[in-house]
Subunit: 440 residues, 2 copies
């Protein structure tokens, strides 16, 4: 039998520990599948003294991950340190430059430097695999890179952040406010002490940048992505969505338009009966549309030690079998610059919730401003405050009443202009809520 593949593991958090466990437990299966074993020969982590769920003494310890990366005894570096900067970046660069394959779960690193790292891997003819970086347990990277090579993608979208989906699910099911739900998610360990990166959509954007590159052959650039998080979503929005036949999800969407590739992350209304609307809790999902093909959807665990480690082991197994693909499915030199479709040109349906001053002429003013931008309404619902109901002459109280509108397909630009005009007219209070609708 061939020599086992020798792995240096940098990072010993939940994922790193699960990799150690899976490789140990799956020994026979790996040999059966790859014709050779996969063995961790050296480890690196921040703290050597920390208690671990396995016997540290079985492995050689290399304090510096960069030294581990160039260690002559390893064939592959598994990088689960995280972060776009050093030491993760230097460790990965060092390994590739030394002709060693790299398996990483580091989305931040790939989003920031994926292009250069892919070119470096190519130059040294080694694999750079990163299945674990997006939607942990779902083999979406392999599917895009190898599984659907015959397809011409037109759109890819998904639920890529488990924290946000968990929160939206809990808000809807348990009728919690965003704030209450966030406290809960933090207590359960589903949200970080500083949740900004997750709830404001940045995590989703990094993952979307990687998927869009794989699907459309474009250079990775998270800065080309329009990003909006879920912190402004209220229970009132979820209720209105439900009544109208929708559910709200934080989606990352990349779509081919005539103007170029549109990449955006924002709370989105999806039809309740769609596959993606059924995805609840911390689960992730990705849907791909391609020319002439019905949509393909992958649903599964987005995070967690075993799910992520299982993706890393699959990446290692490919390397053990001598498989080396271009990291982003094509040579780095053939990845094209993004022709970015500006968000103002986005076209689709919109949900708009306004707090309108309840006095004569308000409805007419709003209607006129929308009409001036050629926006047609599919539905409009105005709710009077409980106190004003049955009043002799409704609409004289001057109180604010919610007005909920669903538009037919229109443009982002038109919606922004119409709402700016409505606000200037002083017929609404507060900031209008706008949620884009994504049809399947």
């Amino acid at each position: 039998m061939a020599e086992p593949l020798k792995v240096g593991l940098a990072g010993l958090g939940t994922v790193g520990a699960a990799v150690v466990h899976l490789l140990d437990q799956g020994r026979d299966k790996i040999v059966a599948r790859c014709g050779r074993g996969i063995e961790i020969v050296a480890l690196s982590a921040r703290s050597r003294g920390k208690k671990r769920p396995f016997d540290l003494k079985k492995f050689r310890w290399v304090a510096d991950p960069v030294a581990l990366a160039r260690d002559p005894s390893i064939d592959v570096l598994v990088e689960v340190i995280g972060g776009a900067g050093d030491p993760a970046k230097r460790a990965v660069e060092t390994a590739l430059s030394a002709g060693k394959a790299v398996v990483t779960a580091n989305k931040a690193l790939l989003a920031a430097h994926g292009q250069k790292l892919a070119a470096l891997a190519e130059r040294h003819r080694v694999a750079l695999n990163f299945e674990a970086s997006v939607a942990g347990g779902i083999p979406i990277v392999k599917t895009l890179r190898e599984g659907l090579n015959g397809a011409s993608f037109t759109r890819i979208y998904g639920i890529l952040n488990g924290t946000c989906n968990y929160m939206l699910t809990r808000m809807e099911q348990d009728r919690l406010s965003f704030e209450a739900c966030l406290r809960d998610a933090q207590a359960l360990g589903y949200a970080e002490a500083d949740p900004t990166f997750d709830v404001e959509g940045q995590d989703t954007a990094q993952k979307l940048a990687i998927l869009a590159s794989l699907a459309f052959g474009i250079k990775i650039d998270p800065r080309a992505i329009y990003v909006e998080g879920i912190s402004s979503i209220t229970l009132a929005d979820l209720d209105a969505a439900s009544e109208l036949g929708y559910r709200v999800k934080l989606l990352g969407v990349a779509v081919k338009t005539e103007a170029g590739i549109e990449q955006r992350v924002h709370p989105t209304m999806v039809p309740k009966e769609s596959a993606i609307a059924q995805v609840m809790g911390v689960t992730n999902a990705v849907t791909m549309d391609a020319e002439g093909l019905a949509p393909i959807t992958l649903v599964g665990p987005g995070a967690g030690g075993v799910a992520t480690a299982s993706a890393i082991v699959a990446d290692l197994a490919d390397i053990a079998r001598g498989v080396r693909n271009a990291p982003f499915g094509r040579p780095a030199a053939r990845m094209t610059a993004i022709r970015k479709a500006p968000m103002q040109h986005h076209e689709g349906g919109y949900y708009i919730r306004l707090l309108a001053r309840d006095r004569p002429g308000t409805a007419a003013t709003i209607a006129r401003r929308l009409a001036q931008q050629n926006i047609s309404l599919e539905s409009i619902v105005q709710r009077h405050a409980p106190g004003s109901r049955g009043a002799a002459r409704p609409g004289r109280s001057g109180e604010a009443v919610p007005v909920i509108m669903i538009t037919y397909a229109t443009s982002e630009d038109a919606v922004r202009k119409a709402l700016a005009a409505v606000r200037r007219d002083r017929v609404v209070t507060g900031r209008p809520q706008v949620i884009r609708i994504e049809k399947n």
Copy 2:
């Protein structure tokens, strides 16, 4: 640039024609992704004179597919002839023996001879790829073979036959009988003139045999599968399922039990809110459970020219890039004999619909027979015929009334014995309907 990969295409039905089209249209993308082109150099089909959607003159014609398989000008044979016998079998064997890779969509051939063909491919060190053979547009073969190598599967199940799922969807949504729905499906081309192979579950069984082999490393054997089709399903069953919170799907299920691998195809009640219950029409879906992992579900088009051809092109792209995996994820010699778990040992919940004679003692008799087999009921619903409703003494008419029961987990053996006893007691008319429940 490297020489293009030279393909011989055997079979020019919908799928074959779509392969010609996709390879032509996707030329640039393929070169970008594989570093070389993929070119069809010769064709074979039953009738040369038939009208085709492309110019036949652009390709060399080889009347005999077996001659095409050994043609020195080709590197790969694409077999889309179909059928477990010759000429498909001989063509594939000939190509492999001549050291040529094979890409096939032929589930019948793989189910019957997959084991031997895999060994032959291995011996000659060539690829045998068959992504298109199961769930056309869904990359499930690659996912099982390469994408989830870190996972230890415990169960795999899915909707693998578009015809059946289309029919069950139409029956439920349009309130059609099985027969009316079948006529409709035939008129639309979704069902064959002889629908037996699809509606009686054989097609699903062949696909399940392939998936079970990939997931559990067992030898392919469709004869180890318990098979029941959907022809006995009535609208009454679908309505009762819906009331109880379920939907009926024809599933192929392979599950690891203590007694061995249980493989079965039958109409199944799945919880309405499960991902698989949302899969409507001709769409296919596969769910995988693995140790320590949340379920992973893939949903997409199960058939159709473009979907199937796109899977074939992905298989060809792997070959063009020099990737060769063991056909079933591990060397043929390491595929283990199936330890078949007998269907009588199957454990789970059951839906039972009886037509009970409406007279005193019937309910007691049924209850006693179930109790004798230690079967506990989660729910029981008895519906009186409209005529008997409000009668002074219900239960004296002697007419048949439907009784619908949902059991807690019990065994197939217990259910069969209890129902045989109930029938011997002559308290029911007709054959009891039994539908197994699959929890997610």
